[in-house]
């Protein structure tokens, strides 16, 4: 058995994972990062828009500061976030963006003088100050009071990922690709590392470490329609939950985006609608204005996704080989606008649909986009329940996003949280010596090898992994998507319970040798269904609507009863998650109030309780 020992094991080499690794390496610790794909192919590189940080250099960002960023983040979360964490995040973000500039990110910079921009289809003029020339500039994003999104052309994630990965190479950090963690090695109290399947040979390996950080990104692939990469499958979260002692925070908190293209659910930007694009139904008629007379297509992400779903449910969707969808129409914006301002949309339409957006309609539907939910950690990034286990980035519920994540805040989170949590891990490593129990390691390896052998031999049954997985994805799509209600959630849970049972009876069709994908899919399926059950059970229990969580039967935001965070545990041999709750935040800097968008009623919390928890800074 190949066994590797280090101070820190980082599972996941996206932006969050590599940022954590850099911090430990700078402190002289020995780190290894594992990833399914070469680090730069991690989903972080797909982000185009940018990263939020209140630097305030550009004209439209003038007067911005970390307090405003903090306030936007708390409102965005619909008061579901941990305000202490949101504060740390907003305060640290500008420093991290500057650090990235020092390390090599080619941020776009302030160009002095007069220029134009568009808002709601109208043209405006702005003037950039000469004394700001060459400083990091920013662009506009939804849900923010100021232009705060730092960017590099249309490839922010890619550029930052390149720089971070270069930094890892410079520091000599071991980054290994085609290595998939399939379980954690622990004794119920302390995490000792992970059992890993090599995706080149199919063989099992052991990685031991004093500290382990799970940075495996989001889990959009639990849904069949998602903007996420195919590797965003939740395996990292699943192996943490499987320990029985580590909970998933706010499992019901999943974000949906209105315009994924059909069939592949690749994202086309909100800018299409921002610039005047419209949504059409099967009769090629507009419908958003019927539901939202004031804002129509320009209502917020969650609202548009809700209305589109309603309209399709009412029988106005376009039928296709890939299910129902609606149309996005940007034809009237004209050639010049499409080939300049919407260059990326133009290319996506051409490359993936063979559609010319100047003359043809774009097939779109709401699609899963982001997981606010994740491994619950405290503010130092330490996972609840297991000593020596940490998590950062989209896989974590560190919880600065609460029930809705603002655009540009997640990419920024990866490096900000990575830096902060990286430092906390360094502190932990300084104060820790450890011993590894060979009995625990051997038992875990044996258990995993047994699972693989059973799958290959078909000892458990004959269920087809791809079929069962597709049924899980469909169950969430129908029962726990943009809209949730008691009836559909109950059906969803019942279906998922049946699927969970079948996920224990998978038998392979192929021989399972080498870099076999069927084995990989089968090994993680059971954990995925557990996560899916967590989403549905959490959504059923939460009898209110907050951020992305919309209960048709409980449309109000209920601060009186639900200013809380769900914790979903999976005890050994359970067949349903056990839900516990904790306060959403230890204190309020901004007491719960109206977001200023999205509408809806609020059931007020007890004012005395709120007052007692409110602090002044």
């Amino acid at each position: 058995m190949y066994t590797h020992t280090s101070d820190l094991l980082v599972i996941g080499a996206g932006l969050a994972g590599e940022r954590v690794a850099v911090e430990s390496a700078l402190a002289g610790f020995d780190v290894v990062c594992l990833s399914i794909v070469p680090a730069r192919r991690s989903h972080s590189s797909a982000a185009q828009g940018g990263m939020q940080a209140a630097i305030g250099n550009c004209a439209m960002g003038e007067g911005d500061n970390t307090d405003v960023h903090f306030m936007d983040t708390v409102k965005g979360s619909d008061w579901g976030c941990d305000q202490e964490v949101a504060r740390m995040f907003a305060d640290t973000a500008p420093i991290e963006m500057r650090r990235l500039a020092h390390w090599g990110v080619p941020w776009n910079r302030v160009v002095p003088g007069k220029s134009f921009y568009f808002k709601g289809g109208e043209k405006f003029e702005k003037f950039e100050k000469p004394e700001k020339e060459g400083l990091i500039t920013a662009r506009s994003f939804g849900g923010t009071a100021k232009w705060r999104t730092c960017y590099t052309s249309d490839g922010t994630g890619h550029a930052v990922m390149c720089t971070m990965d270069n930094k890892c190479a410079e520091l000599g950090i071991t980054v290994l690709d085609r290595k998939e963690a399939i379980s954690l090695i622990h004794d119920g109290e302390k995490c000792m590392g992970a059992v890993v399947r090599c995706l080149r040979t199919g063989k099992l390996e052991v990685y031991l470490a004093k500290a382990t950080a799970i940075c495996t990104g989001g889990y959009g692939r639990l849904y069949s329609a998602t903007t996420n990469a195919v590797i965003c499958d939740g395996a990292g979260n699943a192996i943490a939950q499987e320990t029985g002692v580590v909970p998933i925070g706010n499992p019901e908190s999943i974000q949906f985006h209105p315009t994924g293209i059909v069939p592949t659910d690749i994202l086309v930007t909100e800018g299409c609608r921002g610039d005047g694009g419209t949504l059409l139904d099967v009769n090629e008629e507009r419908f958003m204005h019927i539901y939202e007379p004031e804002k129509a297509e320009l209502a917020s992400r969650d609202v548009v996704a809700r209305r589109m779903t309603e309209h399709m449910r009412a029988g106005h969707g376009v039928k296709s080989a890939y299910g129902e969808h609606l149309w996005l129409d940007i034809r009237h914006l004209g050639d010049k606008h499409i080939s300049t301002k919407l260059r990326e949309v133009d290319e996506i339409c051409k490359n993936f649909l063979g559609v010319d957006a100047r003359t043809q309609l774009i097939p779109v539907r709401p699609t899963q986009h982001y997981t606010m939910s994740g491994i619950r950690t405290d503010k130092t990034g330490a996972a609840y329940g297991l000593k020596g286990l940490y998590s950062a980035g989209e896989s974590a519920c560190w919880d600065m996003h609460g029930f809705n994540r603002l655009g540009g805040n997640s990419l920024a989170e990866t490096v900000v949280a990575g830096g902060i949590i990286g430092k906390c891990i360094v502190e932990y490593l300084h104060g820790t010596e450890t011993t590894y129990s060979t009995a625990v390691i051997n038992a875990e390896v044996k258990r995993q090898q047994q699972r693989i052998d059973d799958l290959i031999a078909g000892r458990l049954g004959k269920e087809n992994v791809y079929k069962v997985r597709a049924e899980m994805q469909e169950a969430l799509m129908t029962g726990c998507f943009v809209f949730r209600n008691e009836k559909d959630l109950l059906t969803c849970i019942e279906t998922l319970q049946g699927i969970y049972e079948r996920s224990g009876r998978i038998g392979l069709v192929s021989n399972g040798l080498g870099a076999n994908h069927e084995v990989a899919a089968a090994l993680k399926l059971r954990g995925q269904v557990r996560l899916a059950l967590g989403i549905a059970a959490g959504a059923l229990a939460r009898k209110e609507s907050r951020g992305s969580h919309n209960r048709e039967d409980f449309p109000a935001r209920d601060d009186k009863n639900w200013l809380s965070r769900t914790l979903a545990y999976w005890p050994e041999n359970a067949d349903m998650p056990v839900l516990k709750y904790e306060d959403a935040t230890p204190h309020f800097e901004i007491p719960p109030g109206d977001r200023g968008y999205g509408g809806g009623t609020i059931i007020q919390a007890d004012p005395e309780t709120i007052a007692a928890k409110t602090i002044k800074r």
């Binding site: 794909v37 070469p38 730069r40 192919r41 989903h43 590189s45 797909a46 420093i95 963006m97 500057r98 650090r99 500039a101 020092h102 390390w103 090599g104 080619p106 941020w107 776009n108 910079r109 302030v110 160009v111 060459g134 400083l135 052309s153 490839g155 890619h158 390149c162 270069n166 930094k167 190479a169 410079e170 980054v175 085609r178 080149r200 040979t201 990469a229 195919v230 590797i231 069939p263 592949t264 690749i266 296709s320 080989a321 890939y322 996506i348 490359n351 993936f352 649909l353 063979g354 992994v465 791809y466 069709v509 192929s510 021989n511 040798l513 080498g514 870099a515 076999n516 994908h517 069927e518």
Partner: protein, 245 residues
């Protein structure tokens, strides 16, 4: 529409003792807007779960899915079947180590390249978090970004005659990487230091200038310009060194 596609796919699993390199035929009904991502996943899920290939973003941005499609290296996820004839031949990229069927090891190749080219900013300056960032001209930032758009798919390497002949040839992607740091004012390396990395036959002087790399690059990187730029710069550096300057 309504076509039945015939796929001829290279099969070989090095981890399977009985496996022999061979071509295998599959058929699949074409659906609207089908890409090779959709087609290959359907083949794996419905016909042969042992089929090995790589996708990640499936949106043309990560570079995972380079393969030879009807003779041409390209990204499979952004290849639409309707642009291809009824018979589609799929082979793994040459030059890289084969993992199985259509999957090759670009990860290790590119990580070695980072070490060879020292693919990071070389500077003696320390980061000071209490200070404003150092200024940069926006045009320079954009120029750096244009060179950094490489997704490391390996298509240019697979298409390159020199790379196929010599294992140690750095290839267009690596030379482009060096160019990215040459134009970056933050990197303090001198021409002489760059010369030590690429001023030889496995670097810039090994390139035959046949353009295959630029033709094939799915990100349309200006590889020829960069190769020309480095060749001139390194040529001058070589002369200077020869003259003892």
């Amino acid at each position: 529409m309504g076509r039945t596609l015939k796929f001829d796919i290279f099969r070989y699993n090095p981890e399977e003792p009985a496996s022999q390199p061979r071509m295998q035929a599959f058929t699949l009904d074409e659906t609207e807007n089908m890409t090779l991502f959709i087609a290959l996943n359907r083949l794996r899920e419905e016909q042969d779960p042992g089929l090995i290939f790589d996708f990640c973003c499936r949106a043309g941005i990560c570079g995972s899915c380079g393969m030879v499609v009807n003779g041409r290296p390209r990204l499979a996820c952004q290849t639409k079947t309707k642009d291809l004839p009824e018979t589609i031949t799929l082979l793994p990229l040459p030059v890289f180590k084969l993992i199985g069927d259509l999957s090759v090891d670009t990860g290790v190749w590119f990580r070695e390249m980072y070490q060879k080219t020292e693919s990071w900013i070389h500077t003696t300056k320390e980061f000071d978090h209490t200070k404003e960032e150092e200024r940069m001209d926006n045009a320079v930032a954009e120029q750096i970004y244009e060179l950094e758009r490489c997704v490391e798919c390996g298509c240019c390497i697979a298409a390159c005659g020199t790379a196929r002949m010599r294992d140690d040839f750095l290839g267009a992607a690596a030379l482009n990487r060096v160019a990215r740091f040459v134009v970056d004012p933050r990197d303090q390396r001198t021409d002489k230091e760059y010369f030590e990395i690429i001023g030889n036959d496995y670097g810039i002087f090994g390139c035959m200038g046949l353009l295959a790399c630029e033709d094939i690059c799915p990100k349309n990187l200006p590889l020829q310009n960069q190769l020309g730029f480095l060749r001139r710069k390194m040529g001058i550096t070589a002369i200077k060194q020869f003259l003892g300057k």
